[in-house]
C-alpha cells in the first residue's frame, strides 16, 4: 500500500517485515530515525521475539551481531560515517567470517572536518571489506533493497550494506509502496545458516589461518562476490514477480542506447542526472546515464556491455581518494580496459554540497567540447582555495584550514580574516 512516509520510517518498516531476530544499534545522524523506529517496534512486541540491544559503541553493535549471526539469528544494524569507521575492524571481521548481516549505511561524509551531511566517503572506506554494497536511488528502492538484502546475504552467507543517501533519502518524505508481511514472507525464506555454533555439532569459527591456506580462504570470499553478480539480478527478478515492480539489480541504464556520452553515478543523485540527460537530449546532445546499484561486487561485465558503444563516460562520484582522485571511476576504467572509451572523474557533492542540474549540464558540455582535467571538482571555490594556499605559503602558522576556509567563504558567524 502506498504511504507518504519518511525514508527512515519506510526502511524501518521494511526491515521489521523481514523479521530480524537480533538488532544492536548505536545512534548517529542521519541513521537515528531508523533505529529509533525499530527499537519502538521491538519494545511494542511487533517483531515477534526480536531482541534490540542498546550498546556502548558501533564496534559493540556489529560485534553483537557477529555473535548472534554465528548463533544462527537473522541480524540487522544501521550506521554511517564515523560510526562505520568506529566499527571498521568488526566490518572486516564479519566480511571475512562470511556472516550474513544486513546493515543500512545512511551515507554521510567522514571527518575531519566533522560534517554530518551526505556523501559516499563512509561506505567507500569499507568497499574492500567483503560486504556486498547496494546503493538506493530513492526511498522506494531503499525499502526494496533491504528486503532483497536479507535474502541475498543469507543465500550467499555474505554481509550486505544497503547504502542510502543521508538526509536526501533518510529524511525525505516521499510516496513509498510498503509491502505486506505476506509478500515479504513469500520472498525471504527462513534463515538456514551455513555455519552455526551448535553444542550438538561443535565447530571452531574464526580460527587462525596461516600462509598455507589464507589465500584460498580469501579467494573464496571473492568467489562469493562473483556469485553475487549472478544472484543480484536473479533476486531482483524474483522480487518483481512478488512485488510487481523492478528494483535493484546490478545497474540501471537510462537512454544509453546510441548515447555517445554516458553519465554514471551511485545513489540519489541519479534523479538529478536523469533530469540533466532529459534536458541535454532535448538540446540534441547524445547522452544517457547509468545508475550503479551494486558497487560491490563491481558489475564489470554488465557495465562494459551497457556502455560499449559510448565514447565517453563521465563518473559523478561523491567521494575523494585523497592523493589520487576518483574511486568509482578507477573501477569503471578497469572494467572498460582495452576499449577506447574516455572516462572522466567528477568529484561532486562532498559533505552535502548540492549537485545542481545546471552544474551537471555545464560539466557534460565542457567535457564534450573541451575535455575535463582529471579529476574535475564540481563547483569548487577556487578563489577561496588559492587565497588559503597563498596564506599557507606566506606564514608557517597559518592556522586550521577549515576555519580559514569558513572565514573565506563567509559562512554565517565567521569573521573575515
Amino acid at each position: 500500500m502506498k504511504h507518504h512516509i519518511e525514508g527512515s520510517q519506510a526502511v524501518a518498516h521494511a526491515v521489521a517485515l523481514c523479521r530480524p531476530e537480533v538488532m544492536a544499534c548505536y545512534p548517529i545522524s542521519p541513521q537515528t530515525h531508523i533505529v529509533e523506529t525499530l527499537s519502538r517496534k521491538v519494545k511494542a512486541g511487533e517483531i515477534g521475539n526480536s531482541q534490540f540491544l542498546n550498546v556502548e559503541s558501533e564496534f559493540g553493535a556489529l560485534s553483537v551481531l557477529i555473535g548472534a549471526s554465528a548463533m544462527g539469528a537473522r541480524t540487522y544494524t544501521a550506521t554511517t560515517s564515523q560510526g562505520l569507521l568506529f566499527m571498521a575492524e568488526a566490518v572486516y571481521n564479519a566480511g571475512g567470517l562470511g556472516l550474513p548481516i544486513v546493515m543500512t549505511i545512511a551515507n554521510r561524509a567522514l571527518g575531519a572536518p566533522i560534517n554530518i551531511w551526505n556523501d559516499h566517503s563512509d561506505s567507500m572506506s569499507m568497499r574492500d571489506a567483503g560486504w556486498i554494497q547496494l546503493f538506493a536511488q530513492d526511498n522506494q528502492e531503499a525499502v526494496d533493497l533491504h528486503i532483497q538484502a536479507f535474502r541475498l546475504a543469507e543465500e550467499l552467507s555474505c554481509p550486505v550494506m544497503v547504502c542510502m543517501d543521508g538526509y536526501i533519502l533518510t529524511h525525505a518524505y516521499e510516496v513509498v509502496d510498503l509491502p505486506t508481511q505476506e509478500q515479504v514472507d513469500a520472498y525471504v525464506p527462513a534463515f538456514e545458516p551455513v555455519q552455526v555454533l551448535d553444542p550438538q555439532d561443535p565447530v571452531s569459527i574464526g580460527a587462525m589461518v596461516g600462509p598455507e591456506a589464507f589465500a584460498e580462504v580469501r579467494y573464496l570470499a571473492h568467489d562469493k562476490h562473483l556469485r553475487a553478480v549472478e544472484a543480484i539480478p536473479r533476486l531482483s527478478r524474483a522480487f518483481e514477480d512478488i512485488f510487481q515492480r523492478r528494483s535493484g539489480g546490478l545497474l540501471k541504464a537510462y537512454h544509453t542506447n546510441e548515447a555517445e556520452t554516458v553519465l554514471l553515478a551511485l545513489g540519489s543523485v541519479n534523479g538529478t542526472i536523469k533530469d540533466a540527460v532529459d534536458d541535454l537530449r532535448k538540446e540534441g546532445w547524445p547522452v544517457g546515464s547509468l545508475a550503479l546499484c551494486a558497487f560491490r561486487p563491481f558489475p564489470s561485465h554488465a557495465l562494459r556491455q551497457a556502455v560499449q558503444d559510448a565514447k565517453r563516460i563521465i563518473v559523478f562520484e561523491k567521494d575523494l581518494a585523497v592523493g589520487k582522485g576518483g574511486i568509482v571511476s578507477s573501477d569503471v576504467k578497469m572494467a572498460l580496459r582495452g576499449l577506447p572509451t574516455i572516462v572522466d572523474t567528477v568529484i561532486a557533492g562532498l559533505g552535502g554540497r548540492p549537485i545542481p542540474k545546471a552544474s551537471v549540464i555545464d560539466t557534460v558540455k565542457q567535457a564534450c567540447l573541451e575535455g575535463l582535467e582529471e579529476p574535475h571538482f564540481l563547483d569548487l571555490n577556487w578563489d577561496a582555495i588559492n587565497r588559503e594556499l597563498t596564506r599557507q605559503q606566506a606564514q608557517r602558522r597559518s592556522g586550521p584550514t577549515a576555519e580559514n576556509i569558513l572565514r573565506e567563504i563567509g559562512a554565517p558567524g565567521a569573521s573575515p580574516i
Binding site: L53, V55, F59, V64, G67, A70, L197, I205, M208, G210
Partner: protein, 331 residues
Amino acid sequence: MSYQRVKFYQTGTFTIGNRLLDESNRTVQAGMDRTNSLNSGHRACQGCGEALGARYALDAVMRATHQQMVAVNATGCLEVFSSPYPESAWQIPWLHSLFGNAPAVASGVAAALRAKGRKDVRVIAQGGDGATVDIGFGCLSGMFERNDDVLYVCYDNEAYMNTGVQRSGSTPPRAWTNTTQAVGAHPGNPMGIGKNLPRIAMAHGIPYVATASVADLHDLEAKVTKAMKFRGARYIHIHVPCPLGWKSDPAHTIKVARLAVECGLFPLIEAEGGEVTDRTPIREKVPVEPYLELQGRFKHLFHPRDARALETIQAIADANIHRYQLLPVKA
C-alpha cells in the same frame, strides 16, 4: 564456598585430596566424564597457567550446563595456541572474532538464544588481561551494564603475552615487560597505577564476581560452577602465571600462583550484586619477596636491592589483606 576444602598441611597442597573425598565433592577434572573442552595437543608453552585455567574453567561450565555451552574467545595466547587448523583443540562450539570485542560477541550469542527462546544453551566469553582490562573494556562494561546472560572469564597473566610480553593495564608495579624495561631511574612498570577489574565489575552491581587462581583449582571450579547458577552478567578473574612473560620456571607455575595468593597480592574473593560475600583466608601469611624473587621480571628489584619498591609492593599486599580481611581473626 559450598564444596569441602581439604587441607593437607603436611604437604602444603590441595591436589591429592580428591581421592579421599565423597564423589560429589571431587573436582570436575577428576571425573571420568570430564569433557576435555580444551583438548591436548595445543601449542601453549610448558607450564602455561592460562591453558590450565581455561581447561578447568571450561570443563566446569560444560558440566554445569550439561554440555550445552558456546564459547567466545578474544584474540590472545589462548586463541592462538588452541585454534590453528587442522589442530583446533576445541571440543566445544567456539567462536573467535577480534581482540577487543569478545564480551559484545557473547552478548550477541546470548541475544540470539533469547530470540530463539533457548534457555538450555549458555554462553561464556574469555580473554586475556589485555583483551579484558584494556581493549575490550568498553564492550565488557556494556555487557555488564545490560546484564546480558554471559559469564566472562579473564585469564590474567599481567601482560600482552601473545605479542611478546608488553605491558597491559593489569601489569603490576615495577614488573619488567618489553615496553616497561628494567632501565632508567624507575625500572619496570610505573608505581601507583593499574586497574582492578574485579572491583570495577563489582561496581556494575552484576549478579556474581569472583577471583580465582590456578593455585586452587578446586576453588576455581567451584566458583565457575556457582557462576553458572546465576542468570545475567558474571565475571571471573583468574590469576594465571606465564613462565615466558614472568621469566619463571615452568615447573613453578602453581607455586608462583600460590605465593601470589598467600602474600595478599592476589586475593581470592566472591561478590554478589556488588557486595563482597566471601573471601579465602590466607593460611599463613608470606611476605611478597619470595613471590617476586621467583620471577625474572622482578629481578631488578633485588640486584641491587630496591628497598623502597619492595616496601611499596608489600604495602599493596597488606592493603588487600586489610580490605578483604584475609587473615583469620585471632581468638
